[in-house]
């Protein structure tokens, strides 16, 4: 038990101590979180009327971010699969970061769902037994299950491994590998379930396409690793933690392949909607070209696709991808482009025009922006803390003080390398 206490204490120690820049960063995030909290308080008090959502566009920025972040969470599988299952040594150092990202993204997902609820205090109705979870009929019930399950998996596996390392011993494969396999399937499932949540609605032809799930996966496997590359290169530049060029370049490879597949799928959808336009393509028409003078999303989606294509093109060129600076810039662009595409470009146009052909446009309000910023700050906060706690243990700098005999820290203890 004392080991656990020591582990928690050293985790807290790692999370709360740091340089000046670390404190400024965390202070900034806290400030954003607090302002998000204030905006959410207003939303709770006055109801969702303070958002830009209407009866016509009944989901907005919150659900947009939710769908995007589910992808981010699922992207951890691109590290977990090679590292744990395929025993790829290169990914061993990056995998924990990936899982940290998944935990942070899932936290954000759940927050976005909760802030979108009209009656958040009644969310206990979702709990099985005391409430009434409409499982397996409702895809949203599935989503509640898989998101929480994935959060648990991605929280517990790294925790076990970190704690083992903290105790200076090798993690017992029999204890965690089954869960690793489970989490690989689970990652795909959270993504598919969220895609099905939208694709399962015949009322909205814009979403009701079988390409929805695969496109979700492809874009997630591009955006997720792109963000992980950003995070890893940042960590490498700021700490002594060595991830290794091989991991980065493999991740970049994953990113570029996924981005290419994603582009092919976008092209396929665009072809289907516009080669012979039907009434079912009216939402796409609104999105890409505007309808009856309403074109709020046209610039948005065109920018997104342009950035997406440019970033993919740059990443496809070998020398450019090898260059760290170019790689980081491109990954950032790609990440932003996919956020634009999966968020505002996917959820919102499903509502415009309405199933009865009425066009009401959507513009988020400051409350929505502030709450969204607050939740992103929360996610980054969680991610920072997790990385902060994990790194010293992985680098062998943090070990339980109660160990009888200190095994010589043999540098980094990679998972897959064990």
């Amino acid at each position: 038990m004392k080991h656990v206490r020591a582990f928690i204490l050293s985790a807290l120690d790692a999370a709360t101590n740091g340089g000046r820049r670390y404190h400024v960063w965390m202070g900034f995030l806290t400030l954003v979180m607090l302002s998000g909290g204030y905006a959410y308080f207003i939303q709770l008090r006055d109801g969702l009327q303070v958002t830009g959502m209407t009866d016509h566009v009944s989901w907005g920025l919150y659900i947009s971010n939710f769908t995007f972040l589910v992808g981010m969470a699922a992207a951890a599988v691109m590290l977990v699969l090679p590292a744990y299952v395929l025993k790829d040594v290169d990914f061993s150092k990056a995998v924990l970061i990936g899982e940290g990202l998944a935990v942070a993204a899932l936290t954000m997902c759940l927050c976005f769902v909760v802030v979108d609820l009209g009656s958040p205090f009644r969310s206990w109705h979702l709990t099985p037994i005391i409430g009434f979870l409409n499982f397996p009929r409702s895809l949203l019930a599935w989503d509640v299950m898989v998101l929480n399950g994935y959060l648990a998996l991605n929280g517990l596996i790294p925790l076990y491994i970190l704690f083992s390392h903290y105790m200076g011993r090798k993690p017992d494969k029999r204890k965690y590998v089954p869960f690793v396999y489970l989490s690989v399937f689970w990652a795909v499932s959270i993504h598919m379930v969220t895609a099905f949540l939208l694709a399962g609605l015949p009322a909205r032809p814009f979403w009701n396409t079988s390409l929805m799930g695969p496109r979700f996966l492809a874009s997630a496997f591009a955006a997720g690793p792109a963000f992980i590359i950003l995070a890893l290169t940042f960590i490498e530049s700021q700490t002594e933690y060595e991830v290794g060029d091989a991991a980065i370049s493999k991740l970049a490879m994953v990113t570029v392949v996924a981005a290419q597949v994603n582009l092919v799928m976008i092209g396929s959808e665009v072809f289907k909607e516009f080669y012979f336009p039907t009434h079912h393509g009216i939402n796409a028409q609104y999105l890409f070209f505007g309808l009856h003078g309403h074109d709020a999303l046209v610039g948005w989606i065109r920018t997104s696709i342009f950035l997406n294509a440019m970033a993919t093109l740059v990443l496809m060129i070998h020398p450019l991808r090898q260059n760290r600076t170019v790689l980081r810039a491109t990954c950032l662009v790609l990440f932003v482009a996919i956020w634009m595409d999966k968020g505002m470009g996917l959820v919102i146009p499903g509502f415009i025009p309405s199933p009865l052909g009425e066009i009401v446009e959507y513009k988020p309000t400051w409350v929505e922006f502030t709450v969204t910023a607050g939740i992103w700050a929360l996610g980054l906060f969680v991610f920072t803390v997790l990385v902060r706690v994990a790194l010293p243990i992985e680098m062998g700098n943090s070990r339980s003080p109660y160990l009888d005999e200190h095994p010589k820290p043999s540098g980094a203890v990679g998972v897959g390398a064990d």
């Binding site: 006055d46 109801g47 969702l48 009327q49 303070v50 958002t51 830009g52 959502m53 209407t54 009866d55 016509h56 009425e358 009401v360």
Partner: protein
């Protein structure tokens, strides 16, 4: 008059406060209804007695269409003549009372039409007050020997421009804007295409027999047989009270002005709010 002896179906309609009913129809016109020849004397009595206090509706009266807002508490009906409902069922047709339909004669005719001292007193009185003109003589239009027959044809005033200005109070039926029925040549027919010249309070059917105003559907069906079929079946017209229980429906003139049957062009009574998002939101 077989309908007067017929079973009167009492249908409890949407209840409403007494002030609501009085709003749409002045007391005087209502109480005089009993004296009207077209309504049997016993048809009047029980109104309101069936009206339980338990059922209180918040509905207010609608000025133009008393039926729709549930002004009516009870309605008398007579079995339909010459039509069958779905599955050959018989059904009731609401009798013409001041509350039913837009066009109660008793609004103006305070005495039974056909009696010698027919005066359109109330109306002309008001007209006189408004116009500062003297009350007109009945004989101006009516044949003194046969009060039912008119000397002046309706169309004389209705069709000629300027008649209203020249003789504003000369004809009681000035307000009748006759746009129906259209003859084959496109010309309007006159009052006696439908009304019985000997007793304008009854109708003359196409086969030469007469029918009461309560059986107007028999006359209408002479031309509008398609609509009559729909009406008897249930695709056209309005049913009273509820979907359950005895079926009592409105006669043609319950909704249509027989002199100008198409519905008026007017503003809608409510407007939608687009982009509704709560009290402070909304707007477009």
């Amino acid at each position: 008059m077989k309908w007067s002896a017929a079973l009167a179906l009492m249908v409890l309609l949407v209840s409403c406060g007494p002030e609501g009913r009085a709003k749409a129809f002045p007391e005087s016109a209502h109480s005089d209804a009993a004296e009207h020849g077209a309504v049997p004397a016993d048809a009047h009595a029980t109104e309101g007695a069936e009206h339980g206090p338990a059922e209180s509706d918040t509905h207010a009266a609608d000025a133009t269409n008393p039926i729709v807002s549930g002004v009516l508490r009870t309605v008398r009906s007579a079995p339909v003549v010459g039509f069958e409902g779905p599955e050959g069922q018989s059904f009731g047709v609401a009798l013409r009372t001041p509350e039913v339909g837009h066009y109660p004669c008793t609004g103006c005719h305070v005495r039974p039409i056909g009696s010698k001292d027919v005066t359109l007193a109330q109306m002309h009185g008001n007209r006189a007050e408004h116009q500062g003109a003297s009350q007109i003589e009945c004989n101006f239009c009516h044949n003194p020997n046969r009060p039912g027959a008119l000397i002046l044809e309706c169309a004389l005033c209705h069709e000629r421009e300027g008649v209203r200005e020249l003789m504003p109070s000369t004809t009681a039926h000035l307000t009748v804007s006759l746009s129906h029925p259209n003859g084959r040549s496109g010309r309007l027919r006159n009052c006696f295409t439908c009304h019985n010249p000997d007793d304008p309070g009854t109708l003359s059917l196409q086969d030469g027999t007469t029918a009461s105003l309560d059986e107007a559907y028999r006359l209408c069906a002479g031309c509008h047989f398609m609509q009559a079929e729909d009406w008897a079946g249930g695709a056209h017209g309005k049913r009273f009270a509820g979907w359950q229980g005895d079926r009592v429906i409105l006669s043609c003139t319950g909704c249509h002005n027989p002199h100008s049957p198409s519905f008026p062009i007017r503003k809608p009574v409510t407007f939608p709010k687009i982009a509704r998002r709560g009290a402070s939101g909304g707007g477009h």
